[in-house]
């Protein structure tokens, strides 16, 4: 039992906070009645995940998570909600009444299965801790050497996405 009032203790507490943030955010995101609250929940969840990344020793990815997911994706979704003008509370479900419980059941089973798998499996840790482990410099090098092809492809995908969304969004504008 480590003390709460040490650096490790506090960081452990913070980690618990991140777990809470992530799960609460995710639950809000899927269950909130108003869309805009869902997005807010999603943002919380992303912040929590960024915290995990920080604990996983990759602050760069953590910051990118905040920059792209919170500052980019969430903001864009909020903007879309504004455009579609639908923060309106979800209408009464027109799904079959069974869909809700069924979804719960299916996802519950999935979680049970996956978590069970994760906990039961013997993970062969090949941990070899390196001092400059996964720094930005490493990342950059890998991106431009080993993964340069995928890096280029990603940029093409992004370009296509930008052009595509512009085309889609402009439709109906020119009258």
């Amino acid at each position: 039992m480590i003390s709460l009032f040490t650096a490790e203790g506090l960081s452990g507490l913070l980690f618990l906070g991140f777990i809470g943030l992530t799960l609460a955010g995710a639950l809000i995101a899927t269950n909130a009645r108003s869309l805009i609250r869902s997005v807010a929940g999603l943002a919380l969840c992303f912040l929590g995940i960024a915290g995990f990344y920080y604990y996983l020793n990759s602050p760069f990815v953590a910051l990118m998570q905040i920059l792209i997911y919170v500052g980019g994706v969430c903001v864009t979704i909020i903007f879309a909600v504004m455009l579609a003008g639908s923060s309106e509370v979800n209408k009464v479900s027109r799904h079959n009444v069974l869909v809700g419980p069924l979804a719960f059941l299916v996802s519950g089973l999935l979680v049970w299965g996956l978590a069970g798998l994760a906990l039961k499996t013997e993970w062969h840790s090949s941990i070899f801790y390196v001092e400059n482990w996964g720094t930005v410099a490493n990342l950059g090098q890998s991106l431009l050497t080993t993964y340069s092809m995928s890096f280029e492809l990603i940029s093409v995908v992004l370009l296509v996405a930008v052009v595509g969304s512009l085309v889609l969004a402009r439709q109906g504008r020119d009258k």
Partner: protein, 109 residues
């Protein structure tokens, strides 16, 4: 006894959380009936996957960067996906004045 304050050092923690995120995402995807809601759920699923990548990378991988790079790629893809999806949603909204899945029935023939 497992020290609750040392959770951050265990691979299992991350995997379970990722599984939970995945599950919540699936639940939302099925249960939500509006496009943006579904998009949000899809983001959760992607996040679960990224978290797995990162955790494996940290605890198991021989190459210290591969997980991070995959996560970065997922982020880029997610951003592109969101952009496209939202512009489709806006386009759909213009035509149907709704972003509810069930109102968009023309495609079902």
């Amino acid at each position: 006894m497992m020290d609750i304050l040392l959770l951050s050092n265990s691979l299992h923690t991350y995997l379970v959380i990722a599984a939970l995120l995945f599950g919540i995402g699936i639940y939302g995807l099925v249960q939500r009936q509006n496009f943006i809601g579904m998009l949000i759920s899809a983001e959760l699923i992607l996040s679960g996957a990224s978290l797995n990548f990162m955790a494996f990378n940290h605890f198991l991988a021989p190459d210290p960067t591969v997980g991070q790079i995959f996560t970065l790629f997922i982020m880029a893809i997610a951003a592109a996906e969101v952009a496209i999806a939202l512009s489709i949603i806006i386009a759909v909204y213009r035509n149907y004045k709704s972003i509810d899945t069930e109102d968009v029935t023309d495609l079902q023939g």
